[in-house]
Amino acid sequence: MKQPSLGFDGFLMVVLIALMQVALIWALVVAPADATQGDVQRIFYFHLGSIWPGFVAFFYVLYGSIRYLMSRDAKWDRRSYASGQVGLAFCTIVLVTGPIWAKPTWGVWWAWDARLTSTLLMWLIFLGYIMLRDYIDDQAKRERLSAVLGIIGASMVPFVYFSTRWFEVQHPKPVVMGDADSGIKDPNMIWALMLALAAFTVLYVVLWRRGTELAEADADLSDLRLRLSALEDEA
């Protein structure tokens, strides 16, 4: 089994913890409260902070799946899988914090707003990508089919976003906060947002590396188990 490279991961961990603290302080204390929404607006920093790595994760799934189909190297499959899992976790954060923010701002927990709808669909698409693996027994088949589904799913994400926006015009827009960045004017707000984005991007990288390592260790172990039982049969 490969030993985890503690040097780089340790460095990432230190950066992550430091960035997370600074981002929290900036988002909760330093940045001024929004003029119309008050403290509720502070949800936004971590809300947007997690949709960004969510997108990165899904585009990595597209990239990794293409690399897998081209090289047939199982490491690309594991990397895309870990990325999909982390992306799903970030997407869940967005889906949970979104309604908590929407209730005091829009007055309802859920509005069929383009952003909410498309995030929900993205979540469903990648839940399917993660679920598919559990139900295919053959390893090579699992990797190949997951890669194909990963490509289809990730290339559908832009269309999900465009179609929900193009056809939204017929519905009334939710009141306040028509657009996410409308209230961002104070430089400290921008700083808080940038710090949250940076902290969550590093968090994505850390989690993705851990996930990939685990998936690789899992594959190595099942390989070892097979070889061992073959040896035991011989003996």
């Binding site: 403290d39 899992q85 982390v86 908590i100 923010w101 968090l203 061992l228 003996a235």
Partner: protein, 49 residues
């Protein structure tokens, strides 16, 4: 519920989801370590034969 209440709820949700995710990674890690020690055990018995 006032604004701060919603804010607390949202931030708790973020940490809960992340904690769930990290815990699932840790649990998987523990399962793998357990399997590794099982394999080591089997290798030892194989060597003793």
């Amino acid at each position: 519920m006032n604004g701060l209440g919603y804010l607390t709820a949202a931030y708790s949700a973020v940490w809960l989801i992340l904690a769930y995710f990290i815990t699932s990674l840790l649990l998987k890690n523990r399962r793998l370590l357990r399997e590794l020690s099982q394999i080591e055990q089997r290798v030892k018995t194989l060597e003793n034969r």
